[in-house]
């Protein structure tokens, strides 16, 4: 099994998808000859030409609007939004058009498309190259929202997303593009979009995270272990629809919950996880739930390292919930 970075795994998945189905097309800014600002679409333009790998005019509204039209026509478009921070002009096309098409047409029309976009901080990009706005999309019935944290999942979930028949917002934690490395199956390979992944088994506290924060949480495992705390780490992978069962089963075992997200705290997805656990497993809880999150401020440039939850904040929350016996 070849070792790949997350970026290579995404590029590999796109090559596999385009070879498998000639209805798969890509569109976006700088995705053609340049191969994308991060390099995710490298080699595709040369191999498949301009009809299937399109450099578009600079309009997110136009990219997603025309992708919706292509999906209606029967193609499987995979538009790229260069940075998630630039997606808002396309918000209407995503939440009011793509997401509702199947429902509002009584199942006559569907919008199978995957909107790929690098998300989150970690590149010193200030608030227009760093936002984690997954919660906006997770509030939209009809959309799937996926955010992998490993190279293997990035490939398997991207391929699943392209062929699942629903519109998917596929968020790529750009901080992990080159940092996340691992064995990735060659060729056709899919992962279940409806299942969370237990990344590490443990008995004292359940930590639920997704995307780049998974990396921070993994770094904390050892330190927690040294302090005599056994952490069960759950990678949500998919935020909508999300796998509550795996989280609930884990909390019923550990009796403690910490959610960790890079996004701002208020109305972040961690709040949904916390509320669900409070509703359905409060009798298993031995301690208050703790949410670790970015602050309710815009994403800063110079103080990025202060804004983003780090190992100390995650470990602090784990220790806090373990104060209750």
């Amino acid at each position: 099994m070849p070792e790949m970075t997350m970026l290579q795994a995404i590029n590999d998945a796109l090559h596999v998808a385009m070879a498998k189905d000639d209805g798969v097309v890509m569109l976006g800014e700088d995705i053609g000859k340049k191969g994308g600002v991060f390099g995710a679409t490298q080699g595709l333009h040369d191999k498949y030409g301009e009809m299937r790998v399109m450099d578009t005019p600079l309009s997110e509204c136009g990219i997603i609007g025309s992708a919706v039209g292509m999906a209606l026509y029967g193609l499987k478009p995979v538009p790229e939004i260069q940075f998630l921070d630039f997606i808002y002009p396309a918000f209407d096309q995503i939440v009011s058009e793509a997401a509702k098409m199947r429902y509002r047409s009584g199942g006559q029309w569907t919008c199978p498309m995957v909107i790929r976009s690098p998300s989150g901080g970690g590149i010193r990009g200030g608030h227009y190259h760093s936002q984690s706005s997954e919660a906006y999309f997770a509030h939209t019935p009809g959309l799937r929202v996926v955010m992998p944290s490993t190279a293997r999942d990035a490939k398997g979930m991207l391929l699943s997303a392209i062929f699942c028949g629903d519109p998917v917002v596929f968020l790529e934690p750009k901080h992990l593009y080159r940092l996340a490395k691992g064995d990735v199956p060659a060729g056709w390979y899919v992962e279940d979009l409806d299942k969370a992944r237990v990344a590490h088994e443990g008995t004292d506290v359940t930590v639920v995270s997704w995307g780049a924060m998974m990396h921070t949480c993994e770094e904390v495992l050892k330190e927690a272990h040294e302090k005599g705390i056994s952490v069960e780490l759950v990678d949500l992978r998919t935020l909508l629809p999300w796998d509550a069962e795996t989280v609930l089963a884990s909390v019923r075992k550990t009796g403690r919950l910490v959610t960790v997200q890079e996004a701002p705290r208020t109305c972040g997805f961690g709040s949904e996880v916390a509320a669900t656990v409070a509703e359905k497993a409060i009798d298993s809880l031995r301690a208050p739930i703790a949410r670790v999150a970015g602050f309710d401020t815009p994403f800063p440039y110079t103080l990025e390292h202060v804004y983003k939850p780090d190992r100390k904040r995650v470990l602090g929350a784990i220790e806090y919930v373990c104060r209750w016996e």
Partner: protein
Amino acid sequence: MAEAAELLQVIDVDGKTRGKAPALKPDDLKAMFRAMLATRLFDQRGMNLQRQGRIGFFVPSMGQEASQIGAGYAMGEQDWLFPSYRTHSLAILKGVAWKRLYDQLWGNATDEVKGRQMPNHFSFRDIRWVSISSPIGTQISQAAGAARGMQVRGEKGCVWAWFGDGGTSSNDFHAGLNFAGVWKSPVVFMCENNHWAISVPTEKQTASQTFADKAVAYGMRGVRVDGNDVLAVYEAAREARERAVRGEGPTLIETVTFRMGPHSSSDDPKRYQAQSLFEAWQKKDPIERFRAWLKVKKLWSQEWEDQLSKGIQDELAKAVEAAEATPAPTLDTLFDDVYATLPAQLAEQKAGLMEQIRRSGEIENAGGAFPL
């Protein structure tokens, strides 16, 4: 400043031929008239049904029959349609059964969109009529994408996007025309300038001399046509379609027409529209004009129209009766078609609702009227 686009006309206000009439057979001309008349009758009945409280809402198209049927008649069998909520005449022209239209107005159990949208938001996959949404202009960039899809697949045909004068102010108008221009996609952008975006007149919508002028900025052809002249619209649309299919790129057609009714059943134009303006346009009524022209050509008689009208009214009455008698969609359909398959959290919510109803009975419908 460049000269404003010239206004194309075939029939003048008295029904006389000006310029060259398109080569249409008598049966075609009569079919066009029938569709225009049927649309008018459908609109009158729709407004009445709403006033009687039998349907919740209605959007009439009175005054725009020529603008729509003229272009609709130029459409090819395999063409795609991205309509607006005021273009049901095109479904009537394409022979969509009345019952299907009324089912949607009632949102009943046989409604093809399963009671999920307000009246007039039709979807007819069998005629490649894409589901309508309310936010203005969104279909314009989608049409550009579908037309690009045709190019990717190497298929012959044309995509038609319909919108009004207000729609030209939307983000998607700019994006859609820009993309289609760059891609040279086979799409015809039909801008019906009916002079009103609800209550906002065209002079508050744009500082351009005409809406057709906007085409220049996107490197495409802009055509301005008398939208109450069905033959002129047909000719402009036919030519635009031929160019699109030949690979010569998109066209923006502005049909200059007038919304003779309210924006919707919830609107009263008397609050913002001068009576004199309405009366001036009433004299240019597209159906009267076409009738006068057909009469000169000896293709119209009062007896023929009376018969036609009675036949249509009978069909409408029957379809109304059937749609009204059809029950509402069952509650469990609320959860269908959100995703390709029912996810666990929706299955759980559905089971919860069914359990609640089992325990505490049917959910009360408090009703309510749409205010806009």
